[in-house]
Symmetry: C2
């Protein structure tokens, strides 16, 4: 969908699947052609000239218009998403609310305007030995951004999701490559965005949505010279491919991929002694939530070799044995899950603690929840056990002593999250572990679970590689606006030629750093 109109595509059609039944869904969708991509990129570049300069208030109006548009079709949208994802109405209503709130939160940030980090160092004509020129800077958008829709968040990380909202809020046009698992959902959300583009009087190239295979269309998209940044949520393999493509371009571009995380959980002594049943219940809820199809699913639980830990594992076993067998998003994801589980079952030192009882016949999208256990020493011997299995499974790791625990923590790869259960005294006693985890994860959680990512100003949904491509940024929360911007500096510009954010009179009333001090005051005329 380019300029709000459907296109013919390259002649190849595809259908999505109902994960509950395996049935092929109608209608068919078409892969975009090379010409479609060329058109979308050209229009996006053209739109950037005006959209990139639009006042924050107008960008906010646009984002709110999208939010209202999504709400106005809430019932049909949730029904359609459920048909394509089987994630369930409750979860999808929640995800829609999050998507809408996210658009409104970015609208607030764009409208308030201080996010541009306006900095003013006024001229010092009398400075010795040399006068200082007037120097001002602020953040500008960078140009068309390619957003790859995710499979697991058909609304919140897809067409009108977080990557799109943050890129649009900053002033960048967006070309979404929709995920092939939910084309009808993507089309509905895309129509809402296109309608908002039209009704807000914006140039049509501000937004486009295309379908196509990642290996061909996705590659062509990130290599397109008019595309200036990439946002992606998905697998480690695909994420790394995108990173490598972006880095190898004649003009490399920022690539933000959110890829792979096992989200370790550490249960500290006092919490283990007093709350093992509650923690087991919470953990079970967290690793099976959304059929374990969350980037933040806790896939590793570190427990000592003692009776309290044994009790926690027994509790977990009970929950898992009684667990339901829900469908995953696509046959491919389900197949990967079964393969991952089978590989783990056969790995040396791995014990199956409990698995849900599978009914005789299950559709090929179904996933059986299962918990594994291994000794710390076996994990060290088989480091591949520390890899992510996307789906409702977790791995309990039993360690002998605190030295072993610390060594295991130091050996972790980069993570989106790390979780500690403990009393205040536990946390104080394990300050060394907290320090290790600060370097391993983007978000540290105490006495909670990593699933459920709050969309707010302080959220960091990022983390060292391989959790993401660039741990200086986040893909959730208002900080995400800083991924697709760059500072531009104005030296000795006449007031009339300066952007509003940098004029002496501070017409936008934003917070600025003037001579290194935060202020909303006007800049006094020094001349």
């Amino acid at each position: 969908m380019i300029q709000g109109e459907p296109r013919q595509g390259n002649g190849t059609a595809f259908n999505s699947t109902d994960p509950s039944t395996g049935a092929r869904l109608s209608p068919a969708y078409h892969y975009a052609s090379v010409q479609d991509l060329e058109l979308a990129a050209g229009l996006a570049e053209e739109a950037f000239a005006t959209y990139g300069k639009l006042p924050g208030k107008e960008r906010a109006r646009f984002l709110r218009h999208i939010a209202t548009g999504l709400e106005s079709i809430a019932a049909e949208l949730v029904e359609q998403v459920n048909l394509e994802t089987a994630l369930g109405e409750a979860r999808l209503k929640g995800e829609l609310a999050r998507t809408v709130n996210q658009l409104r939160l970015f609208a607030e940030v764009a409208e308030e305007g201080s996010w541009v980090d306006a900095r003013i160092d006024p001229a010092q004509p009398d400075r010795q030995p040399l006068p200082r020129a007037d120097i001002r800077s602020m953040l500008h958008p960078i140009g068309p951004i390619a957003v790859f829709g995710s499979s697991n968040f058909p609304l919140a990380f897809s067409v009108a999701g977080g990557d799109t909202a943050s890129a649009l809020a900053a002033g960048n046009p967006v070309i979404v490559k929709a995920h092939s698992a939910h084309p009808a959902t993507s089309e509905m959300a895309g129509q809402v965005v296109c309608r908002s583009v039209r009704e807000c009087g914006l140039p049509p190239g501000v937004f486009a949505i295309i379908f196509g295979p990642g290996t061909q269309l996705g590659t062509a998209l990130v290599k397109h010279p008019k595309v200036k940044g990439v946002g992606f949520t998905g697998s480690r393999t695909a994420g790394r491919q995108l990173m490598d493509l972006c880095a190898a371009r004649p003009e490399p571009i920022p690539c933000f991929t959110e890829m792979s995380s096992v989200n370790p959980v550490f249960v500290l002594p006092e919490a283990l002694r007093t709350r093992s049943a509650e923690i087991a219940k919470g953990l079970f809820g967290s690793f099976t939530l959304g059929v374990g199809q969350f980037c933040t699913k806790p896939g590793m639980v570190f427990l000592p070799r003692n009776e309290h830990a044994g009790a926690l594992v027994e509790e977990l076993k009970g929950h898992v044995q009684r667990a339901a067998i829900p469908p995953m998003l696509t046959p491919g994801i389900s197949r990967s899950y079964r393969e991952g589980v089978a590989q783990r079952q056969g790995a040396s030192g791995v014990e199956t603690v409990a698995a849900a009882e599978a009914p005789d016949t299950v559709a090929d999208t179904y996933a059986v929840p299962i918990v594994f256990q291994v000794n710390g020493s076996d994990l060290v011997r088989n480091p591949h056990l520390a890899g992510e299995i996307f789906g409702p499974t977790t791995l309990v790791i039993r360690y002998e002593n605190i030295e072993e625990l610390m060594a295991l923590a130091r050996g972790l790869e980069g993570q989106l999250t790390a979780t500690l259960h403990g009393t205040e005294a536990d946390i104080a006693q394990f300050a060394g572990l907290v320090s290790v985890l600060e370097r391993k994860a983007g978000r540290l959680i105490v006495n909670g679970f990593p699933t459920g990512v709050e969309v707010c100003h302080a959220m960091v949904h990022g983390g060292p590689y391989p959790a993401t491509s660039d741990n200086r940024f986040t893909s959730v929360g208002t900080l995400a606006i800083y991924r697709y911007v760059r500072p531009v500096c104005y030296q000795n510009f006449p007031q009339a030629a300066l952007p509003e954010a940098l004029k002496d009179s501070n017409p936008l009333g934003i917070w600025r750093l003037v001579n290194g001090k935060f202020t909303r005051a006007e800049v006094a005329d020094a001349s």
Copy 2:
């Protein structure tokens, strides 16, 4: 120099050269061995555990200690640098002052503390439909940083220069690979830093300096798993190699290379009519400053085909014909300059406007200032003419009309700077050109010249590729501190376990974003 002590190296020795005479300077220096690098990286990683957590005040004390140390050896240092670079005492005194000021400015930023972008979204236990957890985040340093000393700023972009100061201010240990053109200078500055490490009671791994060839030691350094970021100022070829190495690592790391820029200058009609002599003089001063060995040297001047532009070119000719013939930094740089000039002289459509008169015998480091001229249409036919020639030369481009000028501007590669000379009316009339240049350059200058980069809060010494590797950042000014940091989020942490910057009571008194509003107030207890 590791742990403040000289090392034996790998057995290969090298000497620097006096650029004025071509004489080999003593003593010889030694390339670092693989073991030296391993030791430096291990110590840096070890030091990070404490240095990364040091309060801003103590990091500030350390940076100021280095500044004072450099001042205390100012006379000997300037003499030594001049011997190795022939940049002249006045320039080097200025560069030392800048280096020292830069350290003190970063000390201020570290001490004041608000740069960590502390964000607090307090818990909302009663929120519907779900309570909100307490979410807080702030920036943390990322670990050991490899800094490559530049050839052209032996003090300000070298051992104790901007990359080192910004990395240290943020809490990252630094391993400097010193430039082989000025080893004695590097050693002197390195001794000052090592003494400050010792006298401030810091772990010895906070700073190390090694010598070696870029293709071997430099490669090993950026590939080292303990190195977490790179800072570099130098050529486009070497910069791109470092970018590619960093991107291809098993764990890719942020790589900030500042590489190549021709810094276009545009003289608009009224300014041209009224100030052509003054602009010619300023331009000549700027492109020959420091023998043209600045990243911000104006290497391209866009002028219309009219009599006022003709007068400006005539003025320029006079200045160039009377110009001195100074030595460049190294025989290699001088050779590249002569090759670049010869290639340009032979290019189709290129006219030599004027060259300084070379004496009969010049040492092989000397560089003859020269100005070329070409038509816009010839530039389009020979795009390689838009490449950087490092040294005292510039290229005048004559265009026929504003449409041609706009097309030429749109065809520019990414730049560190772009300069406009014009009255307020000129600038208003050429708003479209300003918009194009905002996308091309990190800094736009009105009625000035790009050389002379102010070290302040609003400075951006960055720009789209190939000016730098990552236009989201700058290598000069306090914004440079944001290159080697990442946000870390704390969810539901007890007050006692939070970093100082995030505690309710705001013990550091810093500016924070609480519920999306800037404030220095305490966070009210909501429980």
